[in-house]
């Protein structure tokens, strides 16, 4: 379980994340939604020790993320931020193989190679495995990054807007992979999502943030309600039920 207590991030006077206390349940998919500037990405970065906190503590399975050795944490929790620019010319296979670094320190074992092949297969990258990253489209590159994070094989997988740059087919494919990772491999997946319909369709738990605070949280059916969405996004959002799941419409 990931437990955040009173976590804040301040830039000068401005509080980007304001005293967030939150328990993210183990197993299943949790989506963090909210308007731009709600502090979702900053929160995720602090949980994954990429960014120092101004105040508060975060524990992952009881381990304090600021005090636990980074390599211990790297075998338990993985994080992919949005907008990754990589200048290095690496092949997809090389990049994914670096996901095994926390486990094997660069000396790949047979088990590591299986993990690598599986992650590449999962993300439908087998044909692209030998290509350099700078020869891929934005969506293909995004899939390669996610493959690397999955290859790290951690209990907790944190992804900041993993659907960026993906077309409908691959966005759906990505969410199905997350679903499989949660259901079959027992992973805890935490996503920052902008598309609330994807969040609704695939998540077990939704956390809605606004102005640096957690405004609402609960199962998808509880969050996907017009009055709650209006409160978060300041706009009129209609919610329809299709096939037992809630879908929002907000195009006019």
């Amino acid at each position: 379980m990931i437990r955040a207590q009173n976590v804040s991030k301040a830039y000068g006077e401005a509080l980007v994340v304001d005293g967030v206390s939150l328990e993210l349940p183990a197993h299943g998919i949790t989506s963090i939604i909210g308007p731009n500037g709600a502090g979702k990405s900053t929160f995720l970065s602090m949980v994954s020790r990429l960014m120092p906190m101004s105040a508060g503590t975060v524990t992952v399975d009881g381990l304090d993320v600021t005090r636990t050795p980074s390599d211990v944490l790297a075998r338990r929790l993985s994080i992919l931020r949005q907008d990754n620019h990589i200048a290095a010319r690496l092949t997809v296979a090389d990049l994914v193989a670096f996901g095994r670094f926390p486990h094997s320190r660069g000396r790949l074992t047979v088990a590591d190679k299986e993990h690598i092949d599986r992650a590449i297969g999962y993300l439908d990258l087998t044909d692209l495995a030998g290509r350099f990253l700078d020869e891929l489209s934005g969506g293909q590159r995004q899939r390669a990054f996610v493959a690397m994070v999955l290859c790290q094989d951690t209990d907790y997988v944190l992804l900041d807007e993993p659907l960026n740059n993906l077309d409908m087919k691959h966005a759906m494919g990505m969410m199905k992979i997350m679903r499989r990772a949660a259901d079959e491999l027992g992973k805890t997946v935490v996503l920052v999502l902008h598309d609330i319909n994807f969040a609704s369709w695939y998540s077990d738990w939704i956390v809605a943030m606004k102005d640096g605070k957690v405004r609402h949280q609960g199962p998808a059916s509880q969050i996907m309600r017009p009055e709650i969405l209006a409160d978060i996004y300041d706009m009129d959002i209609k919610v329809h039920e299709i096939g037992g799941r809630r879908v929002s419409v907000f195009y006019e």
């Binding site: 980074s70 790297a74 990754n84 990589i86 996901g99 670094f101 320190r105």
Partner: protein, 319 residues
């Protein structure tokens, strides 16, 4: 397999390098004269050290270049475009003025500290001022180097050391003799350490977030890499003088063919670096035989031409 062929080619160049020079050293003269005689002595005291110095500094500078490129996450950065070489020269000048009696290794260590400080300053500037264009990064480094070297030149002028300064900033192997190049083995040792840590540098090349995610301490990798680069540069500058562009061209050429997974590319970078330096030195020795053109000059010409090619090619790709 290809690597073995490349190593053989470098060995051939090395053998050619042994037998080029004013003094007559060839297999027949070596065999027909006693070991105390001139040919064998020239070979042992001058030719072998020179050839070894060429190989060692070629390997070390090329590897230092690729480490810089990974740490700065920019293709066009190397010790001579990041203020490292200029800082090392400043360090030697300071030693020469204030502690002229210091042994070579002491000079080298002081130069390393200066090189480390200068390079750290460069990295600091990169961190503070996010540069939009890839080409701005080496330009900033060259400007920083220019500022440092103009300071160095000023004090060298005041203390009448301009000519000595020239020896450090312009690579030249003609003065290499037995007893005056052995420090370069230290650079080779540092290259070995760099190879052991190769994966860390590739990871650092993915950026701070990826590095942290994979459980490495980014600052520690940065410190290790910059220390290796600073010491290698200092050793090379102290013993034979800077070889500009070497650390830029060789890693770029290798990366085009095989990418940036350093564990895989570093042996190639090392071999290509050695071959490049040997070839340029041989050219410098025969172009105006029996006089010599310093390798720094030869490499400056060849290197800047290749540098321009890389720049233009890169732009074509981006556009």
């Amino acid at each position: 397999m290809k690597l073995v062929l490349a190593i053989l080619a470098v060995l051939l160049l090395a053998i050619a390098s042994l037998f080029i020079g004013v003094s007559d050293v060839s297999l027949p003269t070596l065999l027909s004269s006693a070991p105390e005689d001139r040919p064998m002595q020239v070979l042992l005291i001058s030719r072998v050290p020179r050839t070894l110095a060429l190989i060692l500094s070629g390997v070390a500078m090329a590897v230092a270049g690729v480490i810089m490129q990974m740490l700065a996450r920019n293709r066009f950065v190397e010790p001579s475009t990041a203020g490292t070489v200029e800082s090392a020269s400043l360090g030697i000048l300071v030693v020469t003025i204030f502690a002229p009696g210091l042994p070579l290794i002491g000079k080298m260590l002081v130069a390393s500290l200066f090189a480390l400080a200068g390079t750290a300053l460069f990295m600091r500037i990169l961190k503070e001022i996010p540069l939009r264009s890839v080409l701005m990064v080496p330009l900033v480094g060259i400007m920083l180097g220019g500022v440092i070297s103009s300071g160095t030149a000023f004090f060298a002028y005041r203390y009448d050391l301009l000519q000595t300064l020239g020896n450090w900033t312009l690579g030249d192997f003609s003065g290499v003799l037995r007893g005056r190049y052995e420090l370069l083995w230290l650079a080779a040792g540092l290259t070995g350490i760099a190879y052991i840590a190769a994966d860390r540098f590739t990871v650092a090349g993915l950026g701070e977030d990826f590095t942290t995610n994979l459980g490495l301490d980014y600052r520690r990798v940065l410190t290790l890499g910059l220390s290796i680069v600073a010491m290698v540069t200092a050793v090379v500058v102290v013993t034979v003088g800077a070889i500009p562009f070497l650390g830029l061209i060789v890693p770029n050429l290798v990366a085009m063919a095989m990418g940036d997974n350093i564990r895989r590319s570093m042996p190639w970078i090392a071999v290509t670096g050695a071959g490049f330096v040997l070839a340029c030195d041989i050219v410098g020795r025969i172009i105006r035989f029996p006089y010599e053109i310093p390798i720094g000059t030869v490499f400056g010409v060849v290197g800047s031409a290749l540098f321009l090619y890389l720049l233009l090619r890169r732009n074509a790709r981006l556009g």
